[in-house]
């Protein structure tokens, strides 16, 4: 699986999850795309952030990913 394919799968997963969760752990992406190596998923997710298609959400101790423009307050209550 190449990086562009992984990026596409990440975006599809994020959009699907966005209905119920505003923020996603990297680990959840790795679980959702078991065919890709964790390192490649990490690289793809970070590239998506650079491209502005994803955003980091940091609590200081953990980092999660979200789609830009999400209601993060809603997500925080869910977490």
């Amino acid at each position: 699986m190449d990086i562009e394919e992984v990026k596409q799968k990440i975006l599809e997963f994020m959009e699907k999850k966005a209905k119920s969760k505003s923020k996603i752990y990297l680990k959840d992406m790795q679980r959702a795309i078991p065919d890709a190596k964790p390192m490649l998923i990490k690289k793809a997710a970070n590239e998506l952030v650079r491209e502005g298609k994803l955003e980091y959400f940091s609590t200081g101790s953990t980092v999660m990913y979200s789609l830009p423009g999400q209601d993060l307050e809603k997500g925080m209550k869910e977490e």
Partner: protein
């Protein structure tokens, strides 16, 4: 400049009493001198938190600098109407130089930057080791980052699910006991793993800490997921004349560290020999003998008689893994994985181990699970095998009562099954 508004803070006033320096005084003085409303709003909110017995900070957010997933920790006040100057009060972690050596001009520049673009309040240093710049607004983050990287050649440190800023003890720079060049190793790991430091890669935080000798001045054994502690494999160097000088009272034990009161004459038997945890040494009245094979590098004798005893010259490091503070499952000290490894640049042998550990942790670790918790969950024996290390006898403390390394069927000639009839032919019941 608008007038500074001070809040009523009777409980904080109490903290100014007493002989010790008070952070309340410091913050007030700074706020008055620089006309910073944020200092007084910070104290006002703290007073309110003392009153309500709960924090008024909202933790976390999407703040950061472009391309980095760490280094900035979002902080917002939930009392924005009362304390508008601290409605956004983000923390910035700055990667400290190895062993925290600074030129005073670098510190001046950093403080000037923070006076202008932040609250002016700092924390030198945070527990991780970074320089911590406390309190700024979202729009100041990129300018601060630009100034740090372009003018001061400094970088942000790690936060979140990243590699945290590696830290090390003072090492060979100022310590005669350092068995490894901690600064060089710390710098090398920092530069090699820049991507892991700045972009989230892991289920949770991951810390390297490097100590030059088993005294472990950075407490790597208690705090780091991956502790690197300098050690030696040859014999402790002994200067018998200096040992006699300690016994005769010419040299002060512990380099005079406990000379604030009279502890009586130095007693080598009581203060060194009897306190050796492996009982591997004795004093015959003329000469100190050490059975080095039994020594477990506790450093006690070396600490007490630094002019007489020194670590050996054949040096390297012990690798331990899995320490953490008590969030889940209680505090854990790290476990010895490699009793001795030679460490020379470019440290490829070490990096191979690090990357094997990361690969396993990234695949198997749960969200917010530290390496030590993963090790507990999968079992030490499985962990050792998975990260391609070897089981060693020293990992078993009491072979007959707590063996956690078991033979597998394929490792035993003939496996588990045996032909009972054949057995009985040779051994009648």
């Amino acid at each position: 400049m608008s007038e500074i508004k001070k809040h009523d803070t009777p409980m904080l006033e109490d903290l100014k009493k007493g002989p010790w320096p008070s952070f309340v005084d410091d913050i007030e003085q700074y706020g008055e001198k620089h006309k910073k409303q944020s200092c007084f709003d910070l104290l006002g909110q703290l007073e309110l938190s003392y009153k309500h017995k709960e924090t008024h900070w909202k933790h976390g957010g999407i703040v950061g600098v472009f391309g980095y997933g760490g280094g900035v920790i979002g902080r917002y006040s939930d009392q924005q109407e009362k304390f508008p100057a601290i409605w956004a009060f983000h923390t910035i972690r700055v990667n400290q130089p190895a062993s925290k050596f600074y030129h005073s001009s670098a510190l001046r520049k950093l403080c000037e930057l923070w006076d202008n673009r932040g609250s002016g309040m700092t924390n030198f240093h945070g527990s991780t080791g970074d320089m911590v710049l406390l309190g700024t607004t979202t729009e100041q983050l990129e300018p601060v980052f630009f100034d740090l990287t372009h003018q001061m050649k400094m970088d942000l440190g790690g936060s979140g699910s990243n590699l945290r800023t590696p830290s090390c003890c003072v090492g060979k720079a100022r310590c005669e006991w350092s068995c490894i060049d901690t600064q060089e190793l710390c710098y090398d790991l920092t530069m090699t793993y820049q991507d892991e430091l700045h972009r989230p890669a892991f289920p949770y935080k991951f810390k390297f800490k490097i100590s030059g000798c088993p005294n472990d001045c950075v407490a790597a054994i208690a705090r780091a997921d991956f502790s690197i502690i300098g050690t030696w494999i040859d014999d402790i160097r002994i200067d018998q004349e200096a040992v006699k000088a300690y016994v005769g009272g010419e040299l002060k034990p512990n380099a005079g560290a406990h000379s604030d009161r009279d502890w009586g004459p130095f007693d080598i038997q009581k203060e060194v020999i009897d306190l050796c945890p492996t009982q591997c040494m004795y004093w015959d009245g003329e000469k100190l003998h050490i059975n080095n094979k039994e020594c477990n590098r506790c450093m006690h004798c070396i600490n007490v008689m630094p002019e007489a005893l020194r670590p050996g010259t054949d040096t390297g490091a012990t690798i331990l893994m899995g320490a953490k503070a008590p969030i889940l499952e209680g505090a854990q000290l790290s476990t010895v994985m490699i009793p001795f490894i030679r460490l020379e640049p470019p440290y490829d042998n070490l990096k191979e181990i690090i990357e094997n550990v990361w690969m396993f942790w990234m695949e198997e670790g749960k969200n917010r699970e530290r390496l030590g918790e993963l090790m507990q969950r999968v079992g030490l024996a499985n962990f050792v095998e998975t990260v391609k290390l070897k089981h060693i006898p020293q990992m078993i403390r009491e072979p007959r009562s707590n063996p956690y390394v078991f033979w597998k069927e394929e490792e035993v000639p003939g496996g588990w099954k045996r032909d009972i009839k054949e057995f009985r032919k040779r051994h009648p019941a």
